[in-house]
Symmetry: C2
Subunit: 363 residues, 2 copies
């Protein structure tokens, strides 16, 4: 690996922490004003956790009562994600007779009546599967409209700070302790309110993107047969590639050493930000921040959260994209250029740089 | 030049315009709210011109009357900058018996009674010199306190948006049509209010830094002898180097072709933003934006402006610094690595990259 490139990146990781982020996620005891939220968090692209901002939501007392949810949603058809182990949208070895290959696996999704779905979430052992009630395509407003009056349609101070328009998507998440979301980033500003149970987030700023070893992985899909009770994982046809973070931050004791040697920038760099978001709290997760999520259930065995998404594109997004486009390929990042996450035009590969340099010498 | 690196940079210049900046400076007809200013301009690092925000300042009617200024400041000692041609803090060929060298020339500065200084500003032909009343170290509050009640101590909506503290510096500028400020950037948020006459700004966003061909130049100082009426320009001792933009956006017809071939990224890239700020208007000049300033005088022959500065460091500053640290040196920017503006640790030089790549091959 090129020491110089690595040192430049390390400088960036350190500078953003020194200038702005510090070493822990800031906590607010009450809702900020729109101006304060924008000035202290959105503009500098800095996360925070806010307590006592949703205390007035009926959801906080109603949703932990599962009978309330089942009766209110008795006629609702909802999207249920099924996986063998709780890891959807994550990297999974694909059993392939020719060679072992890592793929990006998506859950088997079924639309089912809510009471049936909730029962599967709460009893993972019964059918030996992990069910997660979620659908990131605005599912709260689409599938859970019966719950609309239990919480606010938007977070007023955030809406005002982010331009005055309602969120582009509002999503509901009901899962158990087995569900885990692997490291990834989203391009929108995200307000993540936990209603029951708690969520543990690992966070890395956008400047640390090279520590995530983003690569292209072939997309695969779980399919579940309720007859056999078994999952099959198959590559999508035609093949489609998804850029995804390679790092598993919690490797098993047996694989830890290998993982640490494969992803040194992650494991040897600055400690990721870690925070627990409890029922009644909101995490502001700024656009382009990498996040990994695990959860602990309430007494009923589930974790319930709702998040509000708002697109936001400005100079920070342009900087991010540029940073992503460079120092990639084998020269500076010690990664396999043939698996580069970027389109060919953007990946600076060693051979290409050399060829170009010859041009310069000749010209 | 490496085509690949150039294409990456061009992509960045285009993306920031497409996502956020558009192709002209936005104008507001009245003062924005703090929230609007922060959301639409500061957070996305986007300039704007605001009319009718300082209409209540007595300065607008008082300062164009030079007799008012002279009598109010009759006892004030102020800093006066003298140059032979109106170009201070700019690149000037240094006459050197050995070789022609370009240096970064600072004005001769004298502290003199205001009425004497103003007379020199207004009559450049009398002593064949260009006088500019300015001093960027908070001169308005230091030297011009007699004028304090003629304008606001700060711009209230900007102060609230930028953290609630008063500006770190407030500077007054009184010059004639000959004074010109060469391309450079400042690390602070800048509100630039024109009180009399008008200013023409050329602006380039921070993402376009490589188009400025920033290099280190030896610092030199004008000294003016009132006895001989002549300027001498001498290098500072010990030698000190100042990183500065190499581009003169308005080359003379004779040098235009040479300049265009020396700085193709500037002359062939997207047209710089251009705007005229008239008396009574404010330009919000975001941190790290490159700006070149010329001015047209009022009927009395001078241009008067006041600007308010506020430091602001966050992830955008970290991105800027990183961008500055890379794609520099001869490999990607076709510039002379030996004159690199960056400390040795940060400049990626071709030879170093090659050496490092050998390391990679061996390791």
């Amino acid at each position: 690996m090129l020491k110089e490139g690595e040192r430049l990146l390390e400088g960036l990781w350190g500078e953003v922490r020194e200038l702005s982020l510090g070493n822990r996620i800031q906590r607010l005891d009450s809702a900020p004003t729109p101006l304060q939220f924008l000035r202290d968090f959105v503009s500098p692209n800095k996360p925070c956790i806010i307590s006592n901002a949703i205390s007035h939501w009926p959801a906080l007392t109603r949703w932990p009562s599962l009978s309330y949810l089942s009766s209110t949603l008795s006629n609702s058809i909802v999207s249920l994600h099924l996986t063998p182990d709780g890891r959807a949208d994550s990297l999974v070895p694909l059993e392939n007779p020719k060679k072992e290959e890592i793929c990006f696996a998506s859950a088997h999704v079924e639309r089912v009546p809510f009471p049936f779905a909730l029962d599967l979430v709460l009893n993972p052992e019964r059918k030996n599967l992990v069910a997660y009630l979620q659908q990131q395509n605005d599912c709260f407003r689409e599938e859970y409209s019966a719950l609309a009056s239990d919480c606010d349609a938007h977070i007023p101070w955030a809406t005002e700070a982010l331009g005055g328009y309602l969120p582009e998507a509002v999503n509901l998440w009901i899962g158990n302790h087995l569900s885990e979301t692997s490291f990834h980033k989203d391009h929108y500003e995200n307000l993540y309110a936990v209603v029951s149970g708690e969520k543990q987030f690992l966070l890395l700023p956008p400047t640390d993107m090279h520590r995530m070893y983003i690569q292209d992985f072939p997309a695969a899909q779980y399919s579940y047969s309720s007859d056999s009770g078994e999952f099959r994982l198959e590559l999508e046809k035609p093949l489609r590639y998804v850029p995804w973070c390679s790092v598993n931050p919690y490797p098993s004791p047996e694989t830890k050493e290998i993982e640490m040697s494969k992803f040194p920038l992650y494991f040897n760099g600055p400690t990721p930000f870690h925070c627990t978001v409890k029922a009644g709290e909101i995490l502001y997760l700024p656009s382009m921040w990498f996040h990994h999520v695990r959860q602990s259930p309430d007494d009923n065995g589930c974790t319930i959260a709702i998040n509000y998404c708002k697109n936001q594109f400005d100079i920070k997004y342009a900087y991010f994209n540029f940073l992503q486009s460079i120092h990639h390929g084998s020269r500076l990042m010690n990664c396999d250029a043939s698996k580069c996450t970027l389109s060919d035009e953007l990946c600076i590969d060693a051979s290409e740089l050399e060829a170009n340099q010859e041009d310069t010498k000749d010209g």
